[in-house]
């Protein structure tokens, strides 16, 4: 059934019940608390950090968080411990420390 017009022609309504698909919604933890995957945890030395934000830019998980003043900190609930933040830090302000098991 035509329910209106547009520049490309009539707008046709989809038949009822024609298409039903399960819909997911973006939310943290779609694969669980991924912090438990970690073997090493990134620990930031605030004394050394020069706030260049490279760790924040490259972190695939978005688990480097930025404070108002651009000091960075880690979301350990979800950080997977890949070590990218430590590898891109120009002043070696991030150390990867072995985990002793369990979340904080």
């Amino acid at each position: 059934m035509s329910v209106g017009k547009s520049a490309r022609g009539p707008i046709v309504e989809a038949p009822v019940g024609f298409f039903a698909a399960p819909v997911s919604h973006p939310a943290p933890g779609a694969a669980g608390k991924t912090g438990t995957w970690r073997d090493y945890r990134p620990v930031i030395n605030e004394e050394k950090c020069v706030k260049c934000l490279l760790c924040w830019l490259y972190c695939p998980e978005d688990t480097i968080l930025r404070r108002e003043d651009d000091m960075v900190y880690v979301d350990y609930e979800y950080c997977k411990g890949c070590g990218i933040c430590a590898s891109v830090c120009p002043v070696n302000a991030i150390e990867m420390v072995p985990e002793r098991g369990g979340l904080e």
Binding site: R8, H25, Y58, P60, T63, G83, I84
Partner: protein
């Protein structure tokens, strides 16, 4: 306009707790799309790692509205979706295909080529991790020569297909290469593409720690080495003008390039050719050929007025 880190949006655009492996280049790329284009973006995703990164219903680990679709149809489904948005008067929505290299260079190629030919108003991004990763590392048309995959146990015998050049030949308004090693450049190109109408193609190089066998902390470094060795040149073709991007300009001069061995030796997938000079030479020759093409394209598509006039039919 040059992108500065400090000016990028502060908002948390990634989606932590997704199912991507640690160090995943696809998770990186998805976050940069959101940083560049904001909220009015719908993704169309054919089968691949990014189908799985979304995690388990009822949550989704990717921070976009997504239509998951079969391999063969990503670009045509996106074109249809864009037409539907137009009918609804929603010209502000970007419909973006986010597909793997297998889903693009091999299985989805016909629908992408069709959408490019029709100049459908979509942005098509390939996350090129140089193999079918989601099904366990099979070779694709974009796997480079010599690389180990489960279907090329002795190393691939063919070179990487030069898809960006094939897309330029479709005479679409915008074609660019990018890399997860240079997020600023990728974001800048996405923003530029968003201002153009018609079919826009961005080929994102996405080194994969799992399939390429390197430590997950090295994803950005491996990506940067691909550019510094000349293996992955960053460029753009914008409505009739071909330009090397700033990060790749120095490597036009072969003597400025990092020896490709530096790139290969970080990756387990090249372990069996690392001591074979004749195999390395094949890759060096590939890089030389690639840059001949680039040289030719720069000369053919230079910013002269005449070229602009002739080639900017979509502008």
């Amino acid at each position: 306009m040059v992108v500065r880190i400090q000016d990028l949006p502060r908002r948390r655009y990634g989606m932590p707790g997704n199912a991507a492996c640690p160090g995943c280049p696809e998770a990186m790329g998805l976050r940069y799309i959101k940083m560049a284009l904001g909220d009015n973006v719908v993704l169309v995703i054919p089968a691949g790692c990014s189908s799985v990164i979304q995690g388990i219903w009822p949550k989704s680990g990717i921070n976009f509205p997504i239509l998951n679709i079969v391999f063969a149809s990503a670009a045509s489904a996106a074109a249809g979706m864009k037409a539907a948005f137009e009918m609804m008067g929603r010209d502000d929505v970007h419909v973006v295909v986010w597909a793997g290299d297998g889903g693009t260079a091999d299985i989805g190629f016909q629908s992408m080529s069709g959408a490019a030919e029709r100049n459908d108003d979509i942005i098509y991004i390939v996350a090129d991790n140089e193999a079918y990763m989601n099904t366990g590392i099979q070779r694709s048309g974009l796997t480079p020569y010599g690389a180990w995959t489960t279907t090329t146990p002795l190393g691939k015998k063919e070179h990487k297909k030069n898809l960006p050049f094939i897309m330029i030949a479709h005479d679409v308004p915008y074609v660019a290469t990018a890399s997860v090693g240079y997020p600023h450049d990728f974001i800048e190109k996405l923003r530029k593409a968003a201002k153009i109408r018609g079919f826009r193609y961005i080929h994102l190089h996405a080194p994969d720690p799992v399939g390429w066998r390197f430590d997950p902390s090295l994803t950005p470094k491996v990506a940067q080495l691909a550019v510094k060795t000349g293996m992955w040149p960053l460029f753009e073709y914008d409505r009739g003008v071909f330009r090397l991007s700033p990060f790749s300009k120095p490597y036009k001069d072969p003597s400025k390039r990092t020896p490709i061995i530096e790139y290969l030796k970080l990756q387990g997938r090249f372990r069996h050719i690392i001591d074979k000079p004749e195999e390395i030479k094949k890759l060096e020759e590939y890089v030389d050929r690639l840059w001949y093409w680039i040289d030719a394209l720069e000369k053919a598509f230079n910013p002269s007025e005449k070229a602009r006039e002739l080639l900017s039919r979509h502008a």
